[in-house]
């Protein structure tokens, strides 16, 4: 069946090369913002509640994470490790990881009460069409654990932070 289709296809005249396929299908080209390097997204109302949990009420947490600088390293490293992780890298292809590094940092910083607001989308909206499975979540958690370990966050503190994120599993895992 497949070979018949292929033969049929190959018998066709080749298409005119001057067709603008984007225009044919009404695809709008997205351009990175020259300042932030991020792609624009659908407008929405930013709200700290989108971060998915209440922040810690404990200044020690942020210092265990090395303040803004440490939190940024951990958020960015988690995204980088995941992009390189053969188990889940496919999910990050064609996603705006420039934006993700920023919003993930904001979320962590907000939850750790380190003085940030979260400007990203809520967890359900952000993960709605990613098709994340339970095993993918575990892989991401391992990468986050590695990133926290590299910044010498004590294990018990890592777990306290994961305790904030764990209940979000139901919003993130969609299949």
């Amino acid at each position: 069946m497949f070979s018949i289709i292929l033969t049929l296809v190959m018998l066709q005249e080749s298409p005119a090369s001057n067709i603008d396929w984007d225009k044919e299908f009404g695809v709008e080209e997205k351009v990175r913002d020259p300042l932030t390097g991020e792609f624009p997204i659908e407008p929405f109302a930013p709200d700290n509640a989108n971060a998915g949990a209440e922040p810690f009420d404990n200044a020690k947490m942020a210092s265990y994470f090395g303040g803004h600088e440490g939190i940024r390293k951990i958020a960015e490293r988690t995204v980088e490790l995941s992009e390189q992780d053969p188990r889940i890298s496919a999910i990050f292809v064609a996603r705006d990881t420039v934006r993700l590094k920023r919003t993930l940092f904001e979320q962590f910083c907000y939850l750790l009460d380190a003085g940030c607001d979260y400007s990203g989308r809520d967890m359900i909206t952000a993960h709605a069409d990613l098709g994340v499975k339970m095993a993918d979540l575990n892989a991401l958690v391992e990468n986050l654990q590695k990133a926290m370990r590299e910044e010498r966050v004590p294990f018990a503190v890592q777990n306290r932070f994961l305790a904030k994120l764990a209940p979000m599993s139901k919003d993130v895992v969609t299949r």
């Binding site: 497949f2 296809v9 298409p15 095993a135 979540l137 575990n138 294990f155 777990n159």
Partner: protein, 292 residues
């Protein structure tokens, strides 16, 4: 028409190209669980601590795969030697099927009881466990993973179990377990209610000829996670005394370490109390598990 067909060719080339095959899922032995969250293998072969059953499902699979484990356990006691081994299969982190063989070497006690030096009691345990609800790690912090289980035990030394006054060499235990890793405290808490008539978990048969039978017993574990790979804790397990031989509750202090993502070793100090009137059976418990 030409456009449509060349577009079809374009789509087909994407679909057919191997480099575009998405991450596969639902595979055999694909792994995916966090290290240690498949638990160790309990002495009855079900996933759990050393002497307690947990609500966990064995194997490293998550909700779309199939996992397997194999384990060997030895307990070195003053008057006895315990050796058990078994296999388990976990299906979609939902169903666990396990088999374990227990061999209990009576050493000199065998002579004293007239069984013969080094007489070994043997038992097969066929078990199934079903996760009803909840997740050990994720979801609401105070909602545990809950499982029910059934363990059918066949003692291969019927003559001995009759001689000690048991009603039957075969029996079935029913378990209801709740387990949770409380991340905010790095604590693992687990509790199991076991409806059983087993004497010394069945090694001395089930019930008593005098009519003692099923009763509820309790198994509890409390453990602290030191690192991704290490956990230490304590367990206890209440036991009936159907035979009037002074059967004691059990307890242990354990440390488990995931040497690799697939191999976990557990070492414990176990206090099994009085066994067949020989008291103070305290000793070393060692278990190794391989999981995929």
């Amino acid at each position: 028409m030409a456009r449509l067909l060349s577009f079809t060719a374009f789509i087909l080339s994407i679909v057919a190209s191997p480099s575009n095959v998405a991450a596969k899922d639902g595979d055999f032995l694909d792994g995916g669980k966090l290290v240690l969250t498949n638990a160790a293998s309990s002495i009855e072969g079900a996933s759990g601590g050393g002497i307690a059953t947990w609500a966990t499902i064995s194997g490293l699979e998550t909700d779309r795969g199939i996992g397997v484990t194999g384990h060997v356990t030895v307990i070195e006691l003053p008057d006895y030697g315990w050796q058990s081994h078994g296999v388990a299969i976990g299906i979609a982190n939902r169903v666990e099927l396990s088999y374990a063989r227990q061999n209990f070497d009576t050493r000199d006690v065998g002579t004293a009881l007239g069984l013969g030096q080094g007489y070994t009691l043997n038992q097969d345990v066929f078990a199934a466990k079903l996760r009803l609800a909840g997740d050990l790690v994720y979801g609401e912090p105070l909602v545990p993973q809950i499982s029910v289980g059934v363990q059918h035990k066949r003692n291969l030394d019927g003559a001995v179990t009759t001689a000690v006054g048991a009603d039957s060499p075969n029996g079935t235990d029913f378990t209801l377990s709740a387990s949770k890793l409380i991340l905010s405290r790095s604590l693992l808490v687990s509790a199991t209610a076991r409806y059983t008539e087993a004497n010394q978990t069945g090694l001395l048969g089930f019930g008593s000829a005098a009519g003692k039978g099923y009763d509820f017993q309790f198994e509890g574990s409390l453990a602290y996670q030191l690192s991704r790979r290490a956990i230490i804790g304590a367990e206890m397990r209440t036991k009936p005394d159907n035979l009037g031989l002074g059967e004691d509750n059990w307890m242990d202090l354990f440390a488990a370490f995931a040497v690799t993502d697939n191999v976990t070793v557990t070492a414990a100090y176990a206090d099994l109390g009085s066994i067949a009137t020989f008291e103070n059976q305290r000793g070393a418990f060692l278990s190794a598990q391989i999981a995929f």
